[in-house]
Subunit: 212 residues, 2 copies
DNA sequence: CAAACAATAGCGAAATCAGGTGATTTTATA
DNA sequence: TATAAAATCACCTGATTTCGCTATTGTTTG
């Protein structure tokens, strides 16, 4: 029996969900509330496997509530439903720990499917949402610079790595068993190749372009 | 009419897809190949809206092929299908520009649905895959350190930001319209708060913990 | 083999930085 | 309005860094 708690401010929708769940084999509605006041207490009193969460609600919004629930009940899967398509919402919902994100246009069967998917460890998503997630993923993850190699030699890479770790010339020299003057030479060459003029600049560039 | 090109090394599957597409209203199979040799030429000769791409294929694998196709035909949507559930594959497929990622267990109707979703600008995903994407998203995007604030004041943050940009004390002073000695003081305080002893260390930490 | 490159090393000078100490003014907030 | 926190500035010292030039020793490669 999969227990689903509903947080949805629209009375009609809320009651529809409740009815749908209680009339579907294998499902039960563990509770339905119009807002997230006392959400933690409510979920303590009415144990649930899944929370269906509306984003736009009076008082605390669904994303804040998601964070809160995840803190107190990490095992509960939270399915976000909304009419909003905004990247901002999607992004925040994911970061808050949502296990799924569906649009409100979904059919009753669609909801039941989504609940089953969530319970099985999946993350149902409207394809349109999924596309946004992929785009967000790409734009946030790929640091633009694919093929900037700067032609650093292996020794130069080692030196740069140690520089990134905040080591001084002297320490780097010790670590690589060479003289400080050699490190000076290497760093001079690194600066020339990266077109920078200070350690901080080099470190910045190295981290941004993933040279280390 | 949605034109779908198939790249799938399994002969039986390939022919099944061809049949399915040619017998579904609104769809046509623009071509079916067992590998990605001459994929660009093939797609030039047989224009397509969607490519259904297997990952595991002899010769060039589906992810490499996806990259290639996206380079030449940015408008073609590529639907990856695979039996693999590996994060590595999912990650690379997304970065390569795939518009969807479904498991091979999908039903014929499921494929048609997926094609429609892709054509409508969505990214159909098996819920299990979607979960992996969300996890990847969270782990790759949130760099571990949510609660390290270091209590930097707003001016200190500005200074740190400029330091990260590789500016010297003198330049930072000019930019903030204060004296170099003030900048020195700020940087001394920043170092104390971050527990570091050099600019490179501070920049490293700032970038890693997203303080800027 | 000669040329190019990588890695090593040195010297010197000017600039910059890291730290210590102390102090004043502004701003926020209880 | 009193107090704390933030922001400002100064002076000093020693250490470190940046950058100029030069040079030797291997290694690779056309």
């Amino acid at each position: 029996m999969i227990r689903v708690a509903i947080f949805e401010d629209n009375k009609h929708l809320r009651e529809t969900f409740e009815l749908l769940l209680n009339n579907t084999d294998g499902f039960a509605c563990s509770g339905a509330w119009p807002d997230c006041r006392n959400i933690i207490t409510n979920l303590e009193v009415y144990p649930s496997d899944i929370v269906l969460m509306d984003i736009e609600m009076p008082g605390m919004n669904g994303i804040e509530a998601t964070k809160l629930v995840k803190q107190h009940f990490p095992k509960i899967n939270i399915l976000i439903q909304t009419v909003f398509f905004e990247d901002e919402y999607i992004f925040n919902a994911i970061c808050a720990g949502a296990s799924g994100y569906i649009l409100k246009s979904t059919t009753p069967d669609g909801y039941i499917e989504a609940f089953k998917d969530v319970q099985a460890g999946g993350s149902p998503m409207t394809p349109g949402i999924a596309r946004r997630v992929l785009e967000l993923f790409k734009s946030n993850l790929q640091p633009a610079n694919p093929e900037q190699d700067y032609d650093l030699t292996s020794q130069e890479k080692k030196v740069l790595k140690l520089l990134v770790e905040g080591k001084s010339y002297k320490l780097i020299a010790q670590e690589l068993f060479v003289s400080v003057d050699t490190i000076k030479t290497h760093i001079r060459n690194i600066y020339a190749k990266l077109q920078v003029h200070s350690g901080t600049e080099a470190v910045s560039l190295a981290l941004r372009d993933k040279l280390v």
